[in-house]
């Protein structure tokens, strides 16, 4: 059974791996930090939150201060889907955000059965490849 854990990640209970729900790429061991199997980009927050008022004139511009905060963008190395973001203080170790008790997850789903799997999933953009 494959348990959808986030919009883009699932845990394969047979192989005990985190997998990408968009391209089926095997990311990392399920008991570990899925981020370890992803790629990271250190994004200047001004690129995502553009200044509304002129940064040459003003100290505060509606853009986060890039010296104070960065956006860590985590993407699937296979399909490039942006799986998670983390607004991080410069140099702060990224969080192990989902530390799953895999044995408990297996037991929980063995009792439930696959019919109970939530049906929400990533919408697939037309024409976009599923596998690589």
């Amino acid at each position: 059974m494959k348990i959808p854990m986030t919009e883009y990640l699932r845990i394969n209970l047979e192989t005990e791996k985190w997998e990408c729900r968009v391209c089926d790429h095997e990311i990392a061991p399920a008991e570990g930090n899925y981020k370890e199997g992803l790629l990271v980009h250190n994004r200047d927050p001004r690129e995502i939150h553009p200044p509304v008022i002129d940064p040459d004139k003003y100290k505060f511009t509606f853009s986060p201060d890039p010296e104070w905060v960065r956006i860590l963008e985590f993407c699937c190395p296979s399909c490039g889907t942006q799986v998670e973001t983390e607004y991080a203080i410069p140099g702060h170790p990224p969080l192990w955000d989902m530390q799953v008790d895999v044995a408990a997850l297996k037991a929980q789903w063995a009792a439930r059965g696959p019919a109970m799997l939530p049906d929400a999933g990533p919408s697939v953009v037309a024409g976009r490849a599923h596998t690589h």
Binding site: P50, F62, D101
Partner: protein
């Protein structure tokens, strides 16, 4: 040890010691035994006996519905008749409490955070006043309370609490709570950000008797009125709350007449126990997991700094534990600390408002959930620390919790709401005060704080300026009505702030701009009390982004009323245009963080802010191109930003989408992502640092080491379990020191005597 053979004191001796200590207590201060506990009180013998007699589900449900509508009726009365602006937009709650003081049933609308927090003052009354011969608790009594160290959120909130008797036996309590605002603190409006100790925070009412024989005692009332800036409001709303309580009492008495006291007592107890059991059941359906999140407060409202709210949420079986250890140390002389009860109250809103809104409103929904904190931290401050701006810490704590909870819910087969990204969490509004155009002394705030943008959900965009996180069924009120009573206008109001976005597959709901300007008073001013001008106070979800940041903008040395009268074509209707085009000659344009201490404003000066956006959900490259263009058409986002971020290709004039080119651009961007990103193991080699950066005044733990708390610099730390004072310098002293250093460096300060 010598006392190995000495006998322990007898029970009689112990009682004597206890009586001696009780009789000689010099001050009944805030009681940690009451304040640290948020679970239900144990079942009493009376409750056991009542449940043995009446436990039929249908009877219980009938009585519960009846009490619920009684509470809603009381709520309606306060909302319609209350004088405080807070009352008018529903910053109110009414409820029925068990004889032991637990909130069993609360009004459906209003500020549900009170549902977790008004039981503390009632328990204080039970513990200290019932058997106190100089006080006592009798039929017809009413008690007042506002000091957050004895319960509730902050000292703006006042409660009226009435015991309900039947055959001279205390059966239950009713209470009504309103965000009254003004309380005589160092700044008007009741939530001073300038407070440096509890002594700056105004009226501090420990629970005391203010009503006898259903009459407000005039001498006590006069003292309270004399202590605040709005004496008429103080009186009016005490009356309103009293009468709301009396209406609920009437409904309870009707129930007693028809069903008897056992049915009432049983209903209150079983409602709470059933909710508590149901919460345990629902938690057990979550995956066993630990989720970590942190939210940064980027200021103390006095100065910018980096203040960490650290949250580790662990679920095992039917236990759910919020662990906030590692959060910033308490600030000794800043108002953003909270007592831990406030944090718990706000966390309970994650569940009552956003996860399980179907559960009966009351204390039970959060009762079985555990919370761990470091004492003397910003989320569990001592009673000596100021906490008038506790909202800053309880709201960021809420968001850390909301963000963590979403990651548990995704895989649950059983959901009661949609999985969603964090809601905006800052009170971006104007607090105001002074003398009105009618000569009245006033101090309160604009209800626009209720316009927080909603987070995106798993299947749709967040709604704009929807509701505050502490009261999802509150209202923004009518600004035009407000303007009849206050000497300022919102010259621009409810206009969405373009490009202040939280992108994602589903974007966050955005916020609107507010421009206020004083008119018709020479004694009027504003303050703003929000964080998030340098670092967003949210996190995004599943690849979505958080909101951006929101500054305060001022235009001085201008009278825009003269401009509007004489040269109206010069006026602009957005912050973007006014600040970038600077249309008023000789005016002074400036930007600031959102912690503006109370500032007197002159006629026609502009103070401008924006509400914030909720966070985005999912990868923005999956956003439907049609919705991207819709956002451009609706003025939420400029075409340039939309094209650059969302990689949608469209005709700049007609906005017609080229779907094929869009798909190609997005495929290329996915490849570009892979190309510019680094494998995790390699990335952290360059990124991870052992300590906070030297250029940031950083407070809280760094990484996983929750035992070491940084206090403003990489070389200043304390152990989490060893409290130390944490003083901040006055920002003006900091500035003076900087300027003096420059004078010294320039060699022009040499002749000043020291």
């Amino acid at each position: 040890m010598k006392d190995m053979n000495t006998t322990a004191p007898s029970l009689e001796e112990m009682n004597l010691i206890k009586k001696f200590l009780d009789d000689t207590t010099l001050f009944l201060g805030p009681d940690p035994e009451i304040m640290q506990n948020h679970d239900l009180m144990p079942r009493t013998q009376d409750e056991d006996a009542a449940i043995a007699k009446v436990s039929d589900n249908h009877i219980v449900a009938k009585i519960r519905d009846r009490l619920q509508s009684g509470c809603d009726e009381g709520f309606e009365m306060v909302e319609q008749m209350g004088a405080a602006p807070g009352a008018k937009w529903g910053d109110v709650i009414t409820g029925v409490y068990s004889a032991s003081g637990d909130l069993a049933i609360a009004s459906a609308g209003g500020v549900l955070i009170f549902s977790a927090l008004v039981h503390h003052p009632i328990k204080f009354i039970i513990k200290n006043w019932i058997n106190e011969p100089t006080v006592g608790v009798k039929d017809g009594d009413g008690f007042i309370h506002n000091d957050s160290r004895y319960g509730n959120v902050h000292n703006t909130d006042q409660s009226m609490i009435l015991p309900i008797f039947h055959d001279s036996k205390l059966l239950c309590w009713v209470a009504s709570t309103v965000h009254e605002g003004e309380n005589g603190a160092i700044e008007p409006g009741g939530m001073p950000s300038m407070a440096e100790s509890p002594s700056d925070e105004g009226l501090k009412m420990s629970p005391f008797k203010v009503v006898e024989n259903y009459q407000i005692k005039r001498d006590v009332l006069t003292f309270l009125q004399n202590s605040v800036r709005e004496p008429k409001l103080q009186y009016e709303d005490m009356k309103v709350k009293l009468f709301a309580c009396l209406r609920i009492k009437q409904r309870i008495e009707e129930t007693l007449k028809s069903d008897g006291p056992d049915a009432l007592v049983s209903t209150l107890r079983l409602t709470m126990e059933d909710v508590r059991a149901e919460v345990k059941r629902r938690i057990s359906e979550w995956p066993d997991m630990t989720v970590r999140s942190y939210i940064i407060q980027d200021s103390t409202l006095r100065e910018n700094c980096v203040v960490k709210i650290n949250c580790k949420l662990t679920k095992t079986g039917d236990r759910l534990i919020f662990d906030f250890r590692g959060s910033s140390p308490e600030f000794t002389n800043r108002a953003t600390n909270t007592i831990v009860a406030g944090l718990k109250g706000m966390l309970s809103q994650v569940f009552l408002c956003y996860v399980w809104p179907d559960l009966p409103r009351g204390q039970a929904a959060f009762a079985p959930i555990e919370v761990i904190t470091d004492p003397h931290s910003i989320v569990d401050c001592s009673y000596d620390a100021p906490n008038s701006q506790s909202l800053m810490s309880i709201f960021t704590g809420f968001t850390a919790g909301q963000h963590a909870v979403a990651k548990f819910l995704y895989s649950c087969p059983e959901k009661f709401t949609k999985v969603h990204a964090p809601t905006f969490n800052m009170i971006n509004t104007f607090i105001w005060g002074g003398v009105s155009q009618h000569g009245e002394t006033l101090g309160n705030l604009c209800a626009d704080l209720n316009g927080m943008g909603a987070g995106a959900t798993s299947d749709r965009d967040g709604e704009h300026a929807l509701a505050p996180i502490f009261a999802t069924m509150a209202d923004i009120g009518e600004q035009e009505l407000n303007e009849e009573e206050v000497p300022f206008l919102q010259l621009v109001s409810k206009k969405m702030t373009r490009d202040a976005i939280a992108p994602g597959k589903y974007r966050g709901g955005q916020g609107y701009s507010m421009m206020v300007s004083t008119k018709d008073s020479e004694q009027w001013g504003f303050m703003t009390t929000a964080e998030g001008a340098k670092i967003p106070p949210l996190q995004g979800l599943f690849g979505g982004y958080a909101c951006g940041t929101y500054p305060l903008c001022k235009v001085k040395d201008v009278d825009v009323y003269d401009v509007l009268m004489n040269e109206p074509e010069k006026f602009r209707h957005s912050i973007e245009e006014i600040m970038n085009e600077q249309p008023f000659e000789d005016a002074k344009y400036s930007t600031h963080h959102m912690g503006m201490g109370f500032e007197i404003s002159k006629r026609g000066e502009l103070f401008m802010i924006s509400q914030g956006a909720g966070a985005g959900y999912g990868d923005l490259l999956e956003r439907d191109p049609v919705n991207v263009v819709k956002d451009i058409e609706e003025g939420l986002m400029s075409a340039e930003v939309a094209a650059r971020l969302y990689k949608v290709v469209f005709d700049p004039k007609t906005l017609a989408i080229d779907f094929e080119a869009t798909e190609q651009a997005r495929d290329e961007e996915r490849k570009a992502r892979i190309a510019r990103s680094t494998p995790y193991a390699e990335f952290i080699k360059g990124w991870n640092q052992p300590k906070p950066p030297a250029h940031l005044p950083y407070f809280g733990c760094w990484g996983d080491d929750i035992d070491t708390l940084y206090m403003g610099a990489p070389d200043i730390t304390r152990r989490a379990d060893e409290p130390r004072p944490n003083y901040m310098m006055h920002p003006k002293d900091v500035r003076i020191a900087e300027l003096e250093a420059r004078l010294t460096a320039a060699g022009v300060a040499g002749d000043e005597k020291q």
